[in-house]
């Protein structure tokens, strides 16, 4: 069933349209004036002003690898993040820890761990899927570089961003 929308009955003043135009122009002029005299302040001029101190706790910035308090790289190269990563930004080449290593019990470690920050969409799925609490999204957001290679974070860079994580489960203990 068709719905008939009743047209409003416009008054004479509304029909000649000019008062509306003029009042509109007054409004825009008022905005212009307020901006010129600095009474309106909306834009945050980014490189000079930053929002960093207001960043919420759940902010999702650059993904990073963390070490635990014992200094172990928590990642065991299970490649679940590589699997879940929607834009396929993560590439891991696993390796086997030598028998005389301090953490030889863990057996496996990431030999190479690259995240292509051009591809990364900061979705946080890697953090969510990680069974080892090894990858976290940190608050770094200004990821820049001059070449595509610059934009690939390798293991060292990821560990540098990540730092040491406190308060995570230490599961590779004797009890396991």
């Amino acid at each position: 069933m068709a719905i008939t929308v009743r047209r409003p009955n416009l008054s004479w003043k509304e029909r000649i349209y000019l008062p509306a135009i003029l009042s509109g122009m007054v409004i825009t002029m008022r905005h212009l004036k307020n901006m010129i005299f600095g009474r309106t302040k909306v834009t945050m001029e980014y490189p000079e002003e930053k929002w960093d101190s207001h960043m919420p706790e759940h902010y999702r910035g650059a993904p990073a690898l963390v070490r635990d308090v014992a200094g172990r790289i928590r990642c065991v190269a299970c490649q679940l993040c590589e699997f879940i990563c929607p834009p396929r930004a993560i590439k891991i080449i696993p390796g086997e820890l030598p028998g005389d290593d301090k953490f030889a019990k863990v057996e496996k470690y990431p030999n190479e761990f690259d995240i292509d920050m051009i591809r990364c969409i900061y979705c946080g799925m890697c953090e969510e899927v990680c069974p080892e609490q090894a990858i976290f999204l940190r608050k770094d957001y200004a990821i820049t570089g001059f070449t595509r290679e610059d934009m690939v974070h390798d293991k060292e860079k990821l560990l540098e961003i990540g730092g040491v994580m406190h308060g995570v489960v230490l599961k590779w203990n004797e009890k396991k």
Binding site: M25, T28, L32, M35, T43
Partner: protein, 368 residues
């Protein structure tokens, strides 16, 4: 031939185009962006140079360095011709507009011909060809629709444009634009009768049709230059980019700058016809109140300063009008196409026609 005339004309052409019009075009783009930003509570381009003043330079470099790309499906010859046709008429119109009094005894008008206004209309009408040819040669649906829209829109509004200036000629009796300015200096601006001999009743009465003419003419100029609220040929929301959808790099820049050049030309015409041209009245008291003004006729540096001041006055008025153009654009929404046509043919055409008779009656019954 008089080599002096050729030389001075050449210098005036180069001076006006390269020292005034083109910088003005690029800075009107900058002004458009800054003013629109301020109207919308933003900041606009403020990164290149102090307050973003070198933005036009950056834009120009960008346009020049971009790949000049010609799509495979276009009609190449007309595709290349169209941007030139958009830019050239807009600049050529300036030729007959007096943009100053005199400088070192040389009149500040490039070609002071006696059919000035007819020349303006003749050349300005060519502007539509740029758009129509662009739309047609692009061989693509949106540009085509844009071209069709613009041709009908421009033809419609040229009528009102032409009819709106007739009252002025009835009054002045001349088509030469310098004479129109001269008349305004002597008798006051067309829409400001208080200037000059301000106690003349006929002038006050005549100001009514003149004001109507001014309004119709200004609106028509808006439509002719495809400015909002009449930018139907390039309505982004409906036609992607309108007639210049298929254009890029410098060819697009020519369309873009052509639009602003047309705005400057239109503003210059409004200033010349209705706002006293280069004339700036100064109230003075010399035994009794009267108006005076600066000319470039004086000897020595005073003459040069006066001439330059008049040029500055003229382009200052043009700049003010440009700001109005921008202001209107960022205030009013776009018309629907049928509304546009109705406005052109049912209202402005009739108003301009009636206005001619009104002016004629007044001139006949209240002769000066």
């Amino acid at each position: 031939m008089n080599y002096f005339i050729i030389l001075t004309s050449l210098m005036k052409i180069l001076g006006v185009i390269f020292l005034i019009i083109l910088p003005m075009v690029s800075y009107s783009v900058y002004a458009e962006r800054r003013v629109s930003a301020l109207i919308q509570d933003r900041l606009g381009p403020n990164r290149v140079g102090p307050a973003g003043l070198f933005q036009p330079v950056a834009d120009a470099v960008k346009f020049l360095l971009k790949e000049d790309f010609t799509p495979a499906h276009v009609n190449t010859f007309y595709y290349w011709l169209a941007p030139c046709l958009a830019m050239v008429p807009a600049i050529a119109t300036i030729a007959v507009v007096p943009f100053g009094s005199t400088l070192l005894g040389v009149p500040m008008v490039i070609a002071d011909i006696n059919v000035g206004v007819l020349y303006v209309f003749a050349i300005a009408s060519l502007g539509v060809y740029g758009i129509v040819i662009a739309g047609w040669s692009s061989n693509s649906k949106y540009p085509f629709l844009g071209g069709v829209r613009s041709s009908s829109q421009m033809i419609s509004y040229e009528l009102s444009l032409g009819l709106a200036v007739i009252p002025i000629f009835l009054l002045v009796g001349q088509l030469r634009l310098t004479e129109i300015v001269r008349y305004q200096i002597e008798h006051g601006w067309m829409i400001a009768p208080f200037i000059g001999d301000w106690l003349n009743v006929q002038k006050w009465l005549l100001a009514i049709p003149m004001f109507v003419s001014f309004c119709v003419f200004t609106v028509a100029i808006f439509a002719e230059t495809n400015r909002l609220p009449f930018d139907l040929p390039e309505a982004e929301t409906e036609l992607v980019g309108g007639y210049h959808t298929e254009y890029g790099s410098m060819k697009f820049a020519l369309f873009f700058l052509g639009e602003y050049a047309a705005m400057i030309t239109g503003s210059a015409l409004i200033v010349t016809l209705f706002l006293g041209g280069w004339h700036l009245p100064i109230p003075s008291w010399n035994g009794g109140f009267h108006w005076t003004y600066i000319t470039g006729d004086a000897e020595g540096w005073r003459g040069i300063a006066g001439g330059l001041f008049n040029i500055a006055t003229f382009f200052g008025k043009v700049a003010m009008l440009l700001l109005v153009f921008i202001w209107v654009r960022w205030t009013l929404p776009r018309f629907r196409y049928d509304q546009l046509m109705r406005l052109g043919w049912v209202f402005f055409f009739e108003i301009a026609l009636v206005n001619i008779f009104l002016a004629a009656l007044m001139i006949a019954y209240f002769p000066a």
